[in-house]
Symmetry: C2
Subunit: 153 residues, 2 copies
């Protein structure tokens, strides 16, 4: 899918409805435990046995781990060509399904809003990204506020 991504150089090249797909990444049990130990030390993320009797019914990645993986994947989609992915914030961040050890995730994104700046040679590009697991289930979505330079006059 990645080869089908549009080639973008500047804000002006983005169009509403344009779609991007990322590479894939498999999340291991070790990844989940290591991230959780550092950032989200709660039993459903840190302890395979204790996790079974929690609301998540087994070990699952911290939602912030999933969010970090999604950042990594979004970079591979190169939605802004040579320009960085740097955001002022994120709206509509939702975790829909647990991410389990061994899950393979990829991201799909769609351009949902484009707001040219009136004062600067740039625009705000909104891409709604959704992460899917290997079963095609949507596990996570987020809509960052990205600033992308415009084509020089």
């Amino acid at each position: 899918m990645r080869n089908m991504n549009p080639t973008i150089e500047w804000f002006d090249d983005l169009k509403l409805g344009m779609r991007f797909a990322s590479d894939k990444l498999t999340v291991t049990k070790e990844d989940i435990l290591r991230f959780a130990a550092e950032f989200d030390p709660q039993p459903f993320h840190t302890d395979e046995v204790a996790a079974k009797s929690t609301i998540l019914n087994g070990l699952a990645a911290s939602g912030w781990h999933t969010a970090a993986i999604a950042m990594r994947l979004a970079i591979t989609a190169r939605p802004f060509g040579p320009h960085p992915l740097l955001g002022a914030g994120v709206d509509d961040l939702r975790w829909m399904k647990p991410v389990r050890p061994g899950d393979t995730l990829h991201l799909e994104g769609e351009v949902v809003e484009l707001i040219p700046s009136r004062t600067k040679p740039q625009g705000i590009a909104r891409i709604k990204w959704t992460a899917y697991n290997q079963s095609g289930e949507a596990v996570y979505t987020f809509n960052p506020i990205a600033i992308v330079p415009s084509r020089p006059a």
Copy 2:
């Protein structure tokens, strides 16, 4: 500040305007580089020299690293007492200032919305969290959708 946090056992104990503060955490350059290498490999997060000529004017933590640190800090505030911090999503996530090597962050939170469930013994608690650096500058804010059990009848 942590000792001044209200003691919460159940959803029913939370009140609008209640405030929580977290422990502190210092972010090292090594932390920033390690997180970025794994999740957000862009020059302003991975390369101290190259970062100087980017829009961030020097090395800064990935926004998702800041978000992960904030999760860690929120746990220390124990806003839901013995219950986990587990969210369906987040609204109003914004990065206001770069987080630099050596910065010491802490979180402050305020209960801004409480929605008891009509069908289940639980409620949705909205806490607006803001992360501050050692200079008292707000660097990051987020408002998770947290589900907290109600006191048994």
